[in-house]
């Protein structure tokens, strides 16, 4: 353990990964509750294209990721779409977005040296062990800030998610709150892309939350559980990948999936004997 924490990049990964995990767990709880899983998926695709587009334009990786995610989240909010995966139109649009991302990737690789060939892989599957110092600072601060804002609006947001009609009648500002949540979601996706990658954000944003909802129907307890499960799988994944040289993202998604299966089994057993 000491040996592990003596390494700079491991310490960075623990701190930043932890902050991102807490944010992903908290925001993810609402994503599952509000049935916006496919909005998160769509934003993950946008994050891939946005980050590579940003790099190609000579911008910083983070500028591209955060900028594109927030812009698309606001567009989704304005158009009122919910990003249902079944919808053919949305599927076609986001396949094209990914296609453009591949184009950016190949243009970027040809423009720079061949050494950047693994860049796309790290955007797709995360690179938590290779965080730059500025990514550590930005990731940790935005992670904690996202948690704080989510907790601040958690009460009205829960109300709005569970019973929108009554919430509107009681004067909850539905438009502002929905837009704010989409921005929070966009920021969390952009952060999670750095931890687990654009393709695996489900593992951090949806699986822990779904596990928590299997374990408890109480909203506050569920929220805390979701954040803690996300934190636990990220840290455990980091420890495992330190000892076994497999990709961290693989461990994180596998641990999260195992927790989810265990929670399903647990619920079945409780149901049978209660």
């Amino acid at each position: 353990m000491q040996q592990m924490l003596a390494l700079d990049f491991m310490r960075n990964a623990f701190v930043t990964g932890g902050c991102i995990a807490l944010a992903a767990g908290l925001v993810g709880y609402f994503v599952v509750l509000r049935n916006q899983v496919f909005t998160a998926d769509a934003l993950g695709h946008v994050a891939f294209t946005g980050s590579l587009g940003g790099l190609l334009a000579g911008l910083n990786l983070l500028v591209g990721v955060f900028g594109s995610c927030i812009a698309v989240a606001l567009a989704i909010g304005t158009l009122g779409g919910r990003g249902r995966g079944r919808d053919v139109a949305i599927g076609t649009v986001f396949a094209w977005v990914l296609g453009v991302g591949v184009l950016f990737l190949s243009l970027y690789i040809t423009a720079r040296s061949a050494a950047t060939g693994s860049l796309g892989v790290s955007v797709l599957f995360g690179s938590i062990l290779g965080l730059q110092p500025y990514q550590v600072v930005v990731g940790s601060i935005t992670g904690l800030a996202t948690c704080a804002v989510t907790l601040l609006v958690a009460r009205p947001l829960l109300f709005l998610s569970v019973d929108p009609d009554v919430a509107v009648a009681r004067g909850v500002p539905i438009r502002a709150l929905t837009a704010l949540f989409l921005v929070l979601l966009a920021i969390t996706v952009a952060e999670s892309v750095q931890a687990v990658g654009a393709l695996l954000i489900f593992g951090l944003m949806v699986t822990p939350a779904a596990t928590a909802q299997n374990l408890s129907a109480r909203p506050w307890l569920g929220m805390v559980l979701s954040a803690l499960i996300a934190l636990a799988v990220v840290w455990a994944g980091l420890v495992l990948s330190f000892y076994v040289a497999y990709p961290t993202s693989f461990f994180i998604t596998s641990l999260a999936f195992a927790a989810y299966l265990a929670s399903l089994a647990g619920r079945q057993i409780v149901r049978r004997f209660a």
């Binding site: 899983v37 995966g85 396949a95 060939g117 695996l200 999260a256």
Partner: protein
């Protein structure tokens, strides 16, 4: 560089063995994907296609790792997933909360597993990209043979079950009453879909499967409701996207996935636009919501 002389260009395009393989495999893929895609859209299973392709990703990686054909790995994983969906006994639907969470969890896990397999193989980044986004390189003779076998069997099966499948999709209750085994048909279609996904991944990759397996059928169904015409149109579009995409990728040296998704997207947008314009001009419904 293309000389804009069609015959010369086609000769140029097909002078290399890998491009011949890509065109043969691509044509077979487009035929099956276009035909299956029509039913996918008709049955509202586009999300199922998306899911099958992502579950297939670790299959392709496992095939590479075990030194068997990646197509074989794809076929095994996609078939297993299709039978799993059939066994769960319902349409995979993204609309339901707990189901979409469950599917999201499975997808993240399977993509993570694929990543692991690729790292175990110590493959290059290019290997991962080609299975995520498709490639025109690296389709081997053995892959072409497998593709030919799979496409022939699947298209044959579609010809046999096509009519009852349309019937069972459009009006399942009446079909059931007429003695059509709707359940068996839906399982059979899932198997065909799994095979179609498995071979389509070779050309457009796991992540861009929508472009060949869903977009052509969706555009065709916007243009006509008649099953025969829509099916033919879907296949024609799918072939056009594939051939144009392969040729553009060859001449520009840019990724084939980009061209095929862009063609699919542009066609879909154009078709929706045409349809909206026609509706407004005929004085029918105005501002039809999507």
């Amino acid at each position: 560089m293309p000389s804009w002389d069609l015959v010369a260009d086609i000769q140029l395009l097909l002078q290399f063995h890998f491009m011949q393989n890509a065109f043969v495999a691509g044509t077979l893929v487009a035929l099956l994907a276009g035909a299956a895609g029509y039913f996918v859209v008709l049955r509202g299973q586009s999300f199922g296609a998306h899911m099958l392709s992502q579950v297939g990703f670790p299959g392709a990686a496992a095939g590479v790792l075990l030194h068997v054909s990646p197509v074989l790995g794809l076929i095994v994983f996609c078939l297993a997933a299709a039978l799993g969906i059939g066994w769960a006994g319902r349409n995979v639907d993204a609309g339901h909360r707990s189901e979409s969470a469950a599917i999201g969890s499975i997808l993240a896990f399977s993509l993570g597993l694929g990543l692991l397999f690729f790292r175990l193989y110590a493959g290059s980044a290019a290997g991962i990209y080609s299975f995520l986004f498709g490639t025109i390189l690296g389709i081997s003779d053995r892959d072409v043979e497998l593709t030919l076998a799979v496409a022939t069997v699947s298209l044959g099966a579609l010809v046999v079950i096509g009519r009852p499948l349309v019937f069972a999709t459009v009006d399942p209750d009446v079909a059931e009453a007429r003695g059509v085994n709707v359940w068996l048909l839906s399982i059979a279609f899932l198997v065909i879909l799994a095979l179609a996904v498995a071979i389509t991944v070779q050309i457009v990759g796991t992540l861009l499967i929508f472009a060949l397996l869903v977009a052509p059928g969706a555009s065709a169904l916007q243009l006509t409701a008649r099953p025969g015409r829509a099916l033919g149109l879907s296949i024609a579009l799918s072939l056009a996207f594939t051939w144009l995409g392969l040729a553009l990728a060859y001449f520009t040296d840019l990724p084939v996935g980009f061209f095929i998704t862009s063609l699919a997207f542009a066609t879909y947008v154009a078709v929706r636009g045409l349809k909206a314009a026609a509706t407004i001009r005929s004085g029918g419904l105005r501002f039809v919501p999507a």
